[in-house]
């Protein structure tokens, strides 16, 4: 909803984040799965349709009412200083705003800059309504995006659980216990909601929800979609070196050819059971 208009300063070849940071550019980098806002080459904010915006995180967590959020938007939105307004008017502490802002920024950047999402254009001079809160170096954003992809792959190397509707299943008795946070995710796993929608409804960052989803899938509490193999080794891609993260859109990874993929339904997948047993054995020796 807040994505700047795509007309205007679009050029033939879209510049990457590193390039824009090097030339200290200011504006909005439009990517397939989100937008990254820069000021003087530093990342000041990011948004993605996959991740809940800072307004969702603040209001769902009960820190702000929808009314006080609307008031802040109305009074400071047009001038691009909503963040400053929230702190100056005593609605949030500086630390609270920063923490929530960084949470939203890195969450959206993970999808906007992650695997399967490339730059589409740069709108020079575009600024976000939040205004400057705490700028982050482009290198730090890219490093964290990479780390997040690796973390998910290490938890359970099936990226399709990130985008498919979440199906709860009854695990065997040896499955690890579910944490209260994960219980809230499981309660919404109705076979219709996707992880992105669950994150939005819970008012949690999307990446945090993916961590819960992957852990729950690894433990057998959530079905792992069939015809999906473990993530292939990361293939080098220009702009996103060695990034094994999830595809931000479903269908980015082609299904395995017939006859080569697992043939049973997801939850009886011998491949997955083997992996689960292997992981249990490895954990037992730690």
């Amino acid at each position: 909803m807040n994505t700047p208009r795509k007309a205007g300063a679009r050029t033939g070849r879209a510049p990457g984040l590193t390039e824009l940071a090097a030339e200290r550019a200011s504006g909005a980098l439009l990517c397939d799965a989100g937008t990254v806002y820069l000021q003087g080459g530093q990342v000041v904010h990011a948004e993605s349709p996959v991740s809940p915006g800072i307004e969702v995180l603040l209001t769902a967590g009960g820190r702000l009412t929808a009314d006080s959020w609307r008031e802040a938007m109305g009074r400071a939105g047009p001038a691009g200083g909503v963040g400053r307004f929230l702190v100056d008017s005593g609605r949030l502490s500086g630390a609270e705003l920063e923490i929530c802002h960084l949470g939203a920024l890195f969450d959206a950047a993970y999808f906007a800059l992650g695997h399967g999402s490339g730059p589409r254009g740069f709108q020079r001079g575009a600024a976000h309504w939040l205004g400057p809160v705490r700028p982050v170096g482009a290198a730090a954003v890219e490093r964290e995006t990479r780390r997040r992809g690796e973390l998910l792959a290490a938890l359970w190397p099936y990226p399709r659980v990130d985008t498919e509707p979440v199906v709860a299943r009854r695990p065997d008795g040896r499955a690890p216990a579910v944490t209260p946070r994960q219980r809230a995710v499981l309660a919404l796993a109705d076979g219709v909601r996707t992880p992105a929608r669950i994150a939005r409804e819970l008012g949690r960052p999307a990446f945090h929800t993916l961590i819960d989803i992957r852990r729950l899938a690894a433990a057998g509490h959530i079905a792992t979609p069939r015809s999906t193999g473990p993530a292939a080794p990361p293939s080098p891609r220009p702009g996103v070196p060695g990034h094994p993260a999830l595809p931000a859109r479903s269908g980015a990874r082609p299904p395995l050819p017939p006859g080569r993929g697992p043939t049973a339904a997801g939850f009886t997948d011998p491949d997955i059971d083997l992996l689960r047993r292997l992981r249990d054995a490895l954990e037992a020796t730690l």
């Binding site: 502490s93 630390a95 949470g103 780390r147 997040r148 946070r181 990446f207």
Partner: protein, 124 residues
């Protein structure tokens, strides 16, 4: 009203023997801010790794059926103390403060006391 960086700097200057401090998002393992550290102590790596420490303890408490919350976790090395203090967050995000202290210079009781004060200043 402090922002995260001033709170961390205060930890660094007011806590005797403090080698480094980080404010860490518990779920993602990302350091939201760091001070100190250096070549001997990569605080972003420490942040990510110590989320596993917290998670393991939370899980153990659940298995034991302990209906309680962790205030802090102390890890004693030969030459350092590592102190993890979980923040009682008003929002939905779980955070902890991570502190590395020089064992010879640090006063553990004082460090714990200061950490509580810094947590209050963060107002999260």
């Amino acid at each position: 009203m402090a922002n995260t960086q001033t709170a961390l700097k205060e930890a660094m200057t007011s806590i005797e023997g403090c080698l480094g401090a980080a404010l860490v998002d518990y779920t993602s393992g990302m350091a939201l801010g760091t001070v100190g550290g250096g070549n001997d102590l990569d605080l972003t790596v420490a942040a990510a790794g110590n989320t596993d420490v917290v998670r393991a303890k939370v899980r153990t408490m659940e298995q034991l059926g302990l209906q309680d919350a962790i205030e802090d976790i102390l890890i004693t090395l030969g030459s350092q103390y590592h102190l993890i203090r979980l923040l009682k967050s008003r929002g939905s995000q779980g955070l902890f403060l991570y502190l590395a202290l020089d064992k010879n210079r640090a006063n553990l009781a004082m460090a714990r006391h200061q950490l509580r004060r810094i947590e209050a200043g963060l107002e999260v």
